[in-house]
């Protein structure tokens, strides 16, 4: 497929935003049950604003993908059958909940209305909204990934690994960002978020590695024989019916050499996995306030490359019909 930067930024920015929000909620739940130090409302307020900003940026990026963005509202109508429609519904819901979560912390509406046990779990509005938001954030991971995983002809994508990858890449970059945010503030939650970021990065490494291996050995179900219905081993296209380009030659192929694809793979395998993990490790030892930020930025860059490759590696069966100009 042709990797469109609108969609690359859409999916990576949303992933980081969802991940960051999930990190903040995880932090809040942990602090409520006294596993880590409690944070000020400001900490959550600013953090969730960053998450919201990422979601908004992702949404803006998505508009660049549409031919008719002014009609985008129509996309909410077919949620019964279309994962894209489901994403279009879930995203604003998540944005609303994240905004509400910020508002609650900003206004300081954090008086617990129920306290479970002996001060074991004070429940306030922010916790309720946060947990709801967390569920919706996971739903968004599924909806976004299923847009790709549900197209069965794109065999590289049509796998549960796609959903796992999107989720763990999002979690990894979000927790990495939470670590960066905490480091910037000089907050000691860096280690907490950094550790989770490393764990999620490791899981993402395993699942992306598995999908890379799977895709290397993929057996394509369509070939020229089934495409034109002629049973012969040797079929060569002599003309695709036109001399220059068309939508079919632009949308479904990356027009890059295999060498470029290999290089991009190498780049993202390096930038997404080992480099940020090493940087977080060094930051842990040196207590650096900036290294986790660098780790996040490098990983994000790697994720952009990963998403580019994700599109480029998918072979659409329609390409069988467009192999020779004339």
């Amino acid at each position: 497929m042709h990797p469109a930067f609108s969609v690359i930024f859409l999916t990576t920015l949303l992933g980081a935003g969802q991940g960051l929000f999930l990190a903040l909620i995880t932090g809040q739940v942990y602090s409520r049950i006294h596993l880590i130090d409690a944070q000020s409302s400001d900490y959550y307020f600013h953090g969730s604003l960053i998450a919201l900003a990422l979601l908004v940026l992702g949404l803006i990026a998505s508009f660049f993908h549409l031919g008719r963005p002014e009609r985008a509202w129509r996309a909410a109508s077919k949620w019964r059958t279309s994962w894209l429609s489901r994403e279009v519904i879930v995203l604003p819901v998540l944005m609303g909940l994240v905004a509400l979560f910020s508002l609650i912390h900003w206004m300081g509406w954090t008086q617990p209305f129920v306290v479970a046990g002996d001060d074991a779990l004070p429940v306030d509005a922010s916790l309720l909204v946060g947990v709801m938001g967390a569920i919706v954030a996971f739903a968004l991971f599924v909806a976004t990934a299923m847009i790709y995983a549900s197209v069965k002809f794109l065999q590289e994508w049509a796998s549960p690994l796609t959903v796992v990858n999107f989720t763990f890449f999002g979690l990894a970059s979000g927790f990495m960002l939470a670590a960066a945010y905490s480091a910037w503030l000089g907050n000691d939650l860096v280690t907490f978020f950094g550790t989770w970021a490393v764990i999620f990065t490791a899981i993402a490494f395993l699942s992306r590695g598995a999908s890379l291996l799977r895709n290397r050995h993929i057996k394509y179900r369509s070939n020229l024989k089934t495409a034109i219905g002629v049973r012969h081993r040797d079929i060569a296209q002599k003309s695709q019916g036109f001399s220059a380009g068309s939508f079919n030659t632009r949308e479904f192929f990356h027009h890059r050499s295999p060498g470029t694809l290999r290089r991009v793979t190498a780049v993202f395998m390096l930038l997404v996995f080992p480099v940020p993990v090493v940087l977080i490790g060094v930051a842990y030892v040196t207590k650096s306030p900036t290294l986790p930020i660098l780790a996040f930025l490098i990983q994000y860059l790697g994720l952009v490359a990963e998403r580019w490759y994700f599109f480029a590696e998918a072979q659409h069966p329609q390409n069988l019909y467009y192999q020779t100009v004339s």
């Binding site: 031919g67 008719r68 109508s77 077919k78």
Partner: protein, 240 residues
């Protein structure tokens, strides 16, 4: 239930592209507005087409065969391009099974084109919406046209009658009979899309002449008409 479709006879298609140009002409002049045509006379012309004719060579030289292959939306009975559309712009007509795009609803997200394994949908880069073969819906449903003209432009234009049009659900229609009796097949059956359009395979007529045929063993008297004509005979001699 009606399912309108084309049946394309690869045996007689000569690859003349008459269907391509008549399709573009009809559909660029219709109510839906022009189909984009960029740099038509320059080095890199590009634009939207609903129909293309491609050419394939089967076999190895010298035992090769040229197959001209017209390619347009197959109006799948289970069209994967329809459920993925988030807006409902992509739909299949209940009354005749034609798969269409509502150009007023489409947001140009291109998702349906990803979900068509055949690459039959194209974005119009000027109107910024998805377009595809409509089976000339504005012609075939136009009751003011004489019955014989209520056919897609490509069908009317084809000089070799390689394109048949009709209801593939009606077992007695010309298209159903052609599919049934002449080995009509669907493209990429592996995806279960159940294309309504079918293709008729190329076939070869082979004559087997045996020794017996040459000896005319079933002409028991072995009697041939050996009259030699010299030009002086009347019309009565040759017609009866």
């Amino acid at each position: 239930m009606t399912q309108l479709a084309l049946v394309i006879d690869l045996n007689v298609c000569v690859g003349c592209h008459a269907c391509v140009t008549s399709c573009k002409q009809w559909n660029t002049s219709g109510w839906a507005g022009p189909m984009v045509d960029e740099n038509p006379y320059d080095a890199a012309p590009t634009g939207t087409f609903f129909n293309r004719v491609q050419t394939f060579e089967v076999g190895n030289y010298p035992n090769t065969e040229t197959v001209h292959f017209p390619k347009s939306c197959l109006h799948c009975e289970d069209p994967p391009c329809v459920p993925v559309c988030p807006t409902g712009a992509s739909y299949k007509r209940e009354d005749n099974g034609v798969v269409l795009v509502d150009y007023d609803k489409c947001i140009g997200c291109k998702y349906c084109s990803w979900a068509c394994p055949y690459g039959m949908r194209e974005v119009d880069t000027q109107q910024k919406v998805m377009k595809k073969c409509t089976l000339c819906i504005d012609r075939i449903t136009d009751q003011s046209l004489p019955e014989a003209e209520r056919k897609p432009a490509c069908v009317l234009a084809c000089p070799t009658s390689a394109r048949l049009f009709g209801d593939v659900q009606n077992p007695d229609s010309e298209v159903s009979i052609a599919i049934r009796e002449r080995g009509g097949y669907a493209l990429m059956p592996e995806w279960g899309t159940q294309p309504a359009n079918h293709y008729l395979p190329r076939h070869k007529n082979r004559m087997h002449i045996t020794e017996d045929d040459l000896l005319r063993t079933n002409n028991p008297l072995k009697k041939e008409d050996i009259t030699v004509y010299h030009g002086e005979e009347t019309l009565e001699d040759v017609t009866w």
